[in-house]
């Protein structure tokens, strides 16, 4: 099933444009963009199993570690650079966003909200780092090394003068789905930001 955040990204990307998808996973987004919107481009991925799935789907995938930067891409060589649910796994997330805005005219970033009530509740009540369905790792083996909340990310955008074109919050549960509109940082599970310089 398509994750909700991918639906929204799909809507934000204009037809027949060129996309670079960082940490493209199994290539579902690129495949759909290619088929439905004639969007071309490449996915970057380091997980061999995900790369295999991309090749099976016929999605262009290039094995590349994002922590080594995007030096091999020219300035403004893509219309949109996308990164879904990978920001929190990076060694220097802010530098990668800078790079995304150098390589692409716009960028779309999604990340899990660490400020969501479940995470806050977990930490407040049990006194231990949150483990949930969405973030099923223990603190010591998690690939997610840089968690942030929506508020944290907005501060980062302000400090770097990145312009927010769109922001949206999604939540899988129906109750949070209503409440997230009023208190996004408390009820939103996933944030989706559309940025430009």
């Amino acid at each position: 099933m398509m994750r909700k955040d991918l639906d929204i990204i799909h809507n934000w990307i204009a037809p027949s444009t060129r996309v670079l998808d960082l940490g493209c996973g199994d290539g579902a987004l690129l495949e759909r963009l290619g088929k439905e919107k004639q969007v071309g481009g490449y996915g970057l991925e380091i997980d061999p199993e995900e790369i295999q799935k991309c090749v099976e789907r016929g999605v262009n995938v290039v094995e590349q570690n994002l922590d080594n930067g995007l030096k091999n891409f020219a300035d403004q060589s893509f219309d949109t650079v996308v990164m879904t649910q990978a920001l929190q796994t990076l060694r220097f997330p802010h530098l990668v966003v800078e790079e995304m805005l150098r390589v692409g005219r716009e960028c779309i970033i999604t990340f899990p909200n660490f400020g969501q009530w479940k995470a806050r509740w977990h930490l407040a009540v049990s006194g231990r780092m949150p483990v949930s369905d969405l973030l099923p790792y223990e603190w010591y083996d998690t690939p997610n090394i840089h968690f942030c909340t929506f508020k944290d990310f907005e501060v980062l955008c302000r400090e770097h003068s990145w312009k927010i074109l769109h922001r949206q919050v999604v939540s899988e549960s129906p109750v949070s789905g209503v409440l997230k509109d009023f208190l996004p940082n408390l009820f939103g599970e996933t944030a989706i930001y559309h940025l430009t310089r």
Partner: protein, 411 residues
């Protein structure tokens, strides 16, 4: 040396003798075709005619759109898959990847493997007779470049009635030919598969090649390359050349795992004067000796020179992006982590240039301790990726057929 002169492509024999693996293409028979010249070479010289020896596996479909060309590397030849007889100890050099149900699936594709021009396995080369002198060409055989091979392969495609390859595939020097195909004949291939290759050799690579050539030419039996006329053979020089090459095809780690410091004979015991021989010594000598009894020294010099000369972007203002802008096919690239002769970095350069040129490309860096040789050897990840990619090539092929059109727009 094998030379069977048939002019028409023949389907491979169906019945597989018992004893051969079920997923083998079975018994295969080399064919050859002589192409009338004049065939102009990159060096400016002209061949009046030339012969290519080749094998085919699988069946060419009705609209001749399922052809896959295999370009061989430095010491390769036309025998890429299957067996020449039931008693053959070893199958062709890429048998692991070509056959029914294998990544290059002969149930789906019509696979063509040839011995390149300048080779020593039956195609016209330094061991052939120079029609002008009636003697073997030897060192007088014109120097060749990858583009000469590509142009002669295109003539072979014409001969087989193949207007457009489903894919041109090659590892190492073979990958260089595949890339050259994409630039010289952009409309004649839909996919370009480049494995463990590079857009040009590094200085270190050229240095290794030069050392190998010096080993051959400094053998007293080399006789300025006229050893065939003088009935000698610089066997020792060629063996040393191969030993040098072989070391560079393996990794330090791979050699260590295979041989370590194990002894074949002798002892380290004090007071005993018996020189030791390490296993790796005898292995390398065996490799050298086997090779020198089956390969022509002049061909080895010719092939390594062609490697040195190759520079994909030379006539595109040294700009790989500009070079690849001419390509119309999709690319699939693979490199291997421990390959230091054609390091992953070289493949990444190809991927980068292709992405800059907005050409469809997928690239994977496969974990392997086997060095450059990994492209010939079993490896689960490599096999799965290769199979998945080729499966799409075949599926697309079916789609193209049912849609009744040949061209396609790159993504």
């Amino acid at each position: 040396m094998r030379k069977i002169l048939t002019t028409e492509a023949q389907p491979p024999q169906k019945g597989k003798p018992t004893g051969l693996p079920a997923n083998s293409v079975g018994i295969v028979e080399p064919q050859s075709h002589t192409f009338p010249g004049p065939f102009k070479l990159a060096c400016g010289r002209v061949l009046d005619e030339y012969t290519l020896v080749y094998e085919t596996y699988g069946t060419l479909n009705a609209d001749k759109s399922n052809g896959v060309l295999i370009c061989h590397a430095l010491s390769g030849h036309h025998h890429a898959a299957g067996y020449h007889s039931e008693n053959d100890k070893r199958p062709g050099w890429w048998d692991h990847y070509i056959g029914p149900g294998k990544p290059i699936d002969t149930d789906k594709f019509f696979v063509v493997a040839l011995n390149n021009l300048g080779g020593c396995h039956g195609s016209t080369g330094p061991t052939s007779i120079n029609p002008e002198t009636g003697k073997p060409w030897g060192p007088d055989f014109p120097p060749l470049r990858a583009r000469d091979w590509v142009h002669s392969q295109a003539q072979l495609a014409d001969h087989l009635g193949i207007q457009q390859w489903a894919a041109v595939v090659g590892g190492s020097l073979g990958g260089m030919q595949a890339m050259r195909w994409a630039l010289e004949y952009p409309e004649r291939l839909r996919h370009c598969v480049v494995i463990a290759s590079a857009m040009k050799l590094s200085a270190q690579n050229i240095a290794f090649n030069e050392t190998a050539r010096q080993a051959i030419t400094s053998d007293p039996d080399f006789r300025d390359g006229r050893y065939l006329e003088q009935e000698t053979l610089p066997r020792h020089g060629l063996a040393v050349a191969r030993m040098i090459g072989h070391i560079t095809y393996l990794s330090d780690d791979g050699l260590g795992k295979k041989f370590g410091r194990e002894l074949r004979s002798g002892t380290f015991e004090q007071g005993v004067e018996e020189l030791v021989e390490f296993q790796v010594q005898s292995y390398l000598r065996y490799q050298g000796d086997t090779f020198s009894s089956s390969f022509d020294p002049n061909t080895y010099i010719l092939m390594t020179r062609a490697l040195d000369y190759f520079d994909l972007a030379r006539e595109y203002e040294d700009d790989p992006v500009k070079a690849f802008s001419n390509a119309r096919c999709k690319f699939f690239l693979v490199s291997f982590t421990s390959d230091w002769r054609f390091a992953p970095e070289r493949s990444r350069e190809i991927a980068d240039a292709l992405m800059h040129a907005n050409i469809p490309v997928s690239y994977a860096e496969v974990e392997s301790p086997m060095g450059h040789d990994a492209f010939l050897l079993p490896n689960a990840r490599y096999e799965n990726l290769f199979a998945a990619y080729m499966n799409n090539v075949a599926r697309e092929e079916n789609g193209v057929q049912s849609a009744g059109k040949k061209s396609e727009v790159p993504a």
